[in-house]
């Protein structure tokens, strides 16, 4: 098992969650280890859910800078 440091990215949390579930479901783990894995899994789940809850469908436009550098806006075929 990898260490207990809290994963920084959603992908890591999800990957470790899968890993933990696979190990737990694979059997052959002692009860104590199973409880530890379960708790780790809960932590990763919380991280994932937290990330899910954060997304709010915001849109932000890059402004400022010198728009002149963007050149003249060309006609878009659409």
């Amino acid at each position: 098992m990898t260490d207990d440091t809290r994963p920084v990215s959603f992908e890591q949390a999800l990957a470790r969650l899968d890993e933990v579930v696979a190990r737990l479901e694979g059997g052959e783990v002692g009860l104590e280890e199973a409880v530890a894995l379960f708790e780790q899994g809960q932590g990763y789940l919380a991280t994932c859910r937290e990330r899910l809850a954060r997304a709010q469908q915001r849109i932000e436009e890059l402004t400022g800078g010198s728009d002149a550098e963007f050149g003249t806006v060309a006609d878009d075929p659409f």
Binding site: E25, A34, L37, Q56, Q57, R58, I59, L62, F78
Partner: protein
């Protein structure tokens, strides 16, 4: 020139020479035309340059063979050369020194050349392509704010996930486009949490897509901190940007699918994981209980085995013991009567001694008994309250009732006075 009667008559040579003089001084020029009837003869390549008119042209074979892209019949070219006049036949042709493809051919040739440089720098290999994040914190979107691609991408993104997007509005074609795209990439990469960048544009003619074949754009895409998804043009349009990007999708619509996970399926996955955790823990608990049971069974079995061995030893011992005991008992039985006589005699002697001692003791006891004292004329004074003998005058007061025990009865008495 000669004069014949009233007429001036010129030789052809004079005319061509005059024409030749007039054509002198025309500088070398670039001409754009279609190449036709290409053929090689001697050290020259001959061809016709044609639009609605035409002119013969030639180029030295050594130069022609060195061209980056050799035109074929039908190629649109831009050729640089000067007008030549062949006086002996009064023919005009062009002596070409440089020639490049023009129009789409030129663009394609430019793309090929750029592609060659990018490949040489290792920017086209699949090995350097990065994996896209499953759930980017923020998505950079570089496209035209007025283009359909913008809404296409956003709508499809948001149908999958309520993603947070940073939009960089750029011209997607025209002269300023490459520079604007490069700058937008730099600015998005400088923002925190932008985990992936989409470069999007709808389909168009080759020349409309040229910003995405621009070498600087390609290098900026290749050097981007965040992985880049190229969503340029339609299915058939492949740009260099597509080749250097970490992921290419054929349309802006497809971008959403590779850039972000579907919220519903992600939630389903998390729920499945949660169930897996619970199931796994339960299984571990059961298997642990089962192992404990198995161990208990094993211990019980082991104990039984020990017990069984003990029993068999005991019964074996018993079977050996019984005859031995019987032999011992038989031997003892023979000795008992002899011993019995001796014991009986000793016991009787002892009993007689004890009896004698007992009689002596009884006489002594009788002599010491209060009854004997009372029989001799003494009385025992008792306080009727507790029936204990009164042994001191100190405990008595006038008027106390006492009881006197005499040899043949008891007397109630009252204390008349106490003298001490």
């Amino acid at each position: 020139m000669k004069t014949v009667g009233a007429r001036q008559v010129w030789a052809v040579e004079e005319i061509t020479a005059a024409l030749g003089r007039r054509l002198e001084g025309i500088p070398s020029v670039w001409v754009e035309a279609e190449v036709q009837n290409l053929r090689q003869r001697g050290g020259q390549v001959y061809f016709t340059l044609r639009d609605s008119h035409q002119i013969e042209a030639s180029m030295r074979t050594v130069l022609f063979e060195r061209l980056a892209v050799r035109p074929e019949d039908g190629s649109l070219v831009q050729a640089y050369g000067r007008v030549e006049f062949w006086a002996d036949r009064a023919q005009i042709s062009m002596r070409i020194e440089r020639m490049e493809l023009a129009g789409e051919g030129l663009l394609l040739a430019q793309i090929e050349a750029t592609k060659g440089r990018l490949a040489r720098d290792g920017l086209l290999g699949d090995t350097r392509k990065r994996t896209l994040p499953l759930l980017p914190r923020r998505i950079g979107l570089i496209t035209s704010a007025v283009g359909a691609a913008r809404n296409d991408v956003l709508n499809n993104l948001w149908a999958r996930f309520p993603a947070d997007v940073v939009l960089a509005d750029v011209p997607v074609q025209g002269e300023g486009a490459p520079r604007a795209i490069v700058r937008a990439l730099a600015r998005l990469n400088a923002l925190p949490e932008v985990d992936v960048i989409i470069v999007a544009r709808g389909g168009g003619a080759l020349e409309d897509l040229m910003a995405f074949n621009d070498e600087q754009v390609c290098r900026a895409v290749a050097g981007s901190r965040a992985p880049v998804v190229s969503a340029v043009g339609h299915e058939r349009d492949v740009t260099l940007c597509d080749l250097v990007a970490d992921r290419r999708v054929s349309t802006p619509t497809g971008a959403a699918e590779v850039v972000i996970v579907d919220r519903g399926s992600l939630e389903a996955q998390l729920i499945a994981a949660q169930r897996g955790l619970v199931r796994g823990l339960a299984r571990a608990r059961e298997s642990s209980a089962r192992r404990v049971d198995q161990r208990t069974q094993a211990v019980i079995a082991a104990l039984r085995a020990v017990e069984a061995r003990s029993e068999s030893r005991v019964s074996a011992a018993q079977s050996r013991l019984a005859p031995a005991l019987r032999r011992r008992a038989d031997a003892a039985a023979l000795r008992v009567p002899v011993a019995g006589d001796r014991v009986e005699r000793a016991v009787r002697a002892r009993a007689a001694t004890l009896e004698r001692q007992l009689v002596g003791s009884a006489a002594l006891l009788a002599a010491l008994s209060p009854a004997r004292t009372v029989a001799r004329g003494y009385a025992i004074v008792r306080a009727p309250a507790d029936d204990r003998p009164v042994v001191s005058a100190a405990g008595l007061h006038k008027g106390d009732v006492v009881e006197l025990e005499m040899r043949d009865g008891r007397v109630d008495a009252t204390v008349e006075g106490v003298r001490r």
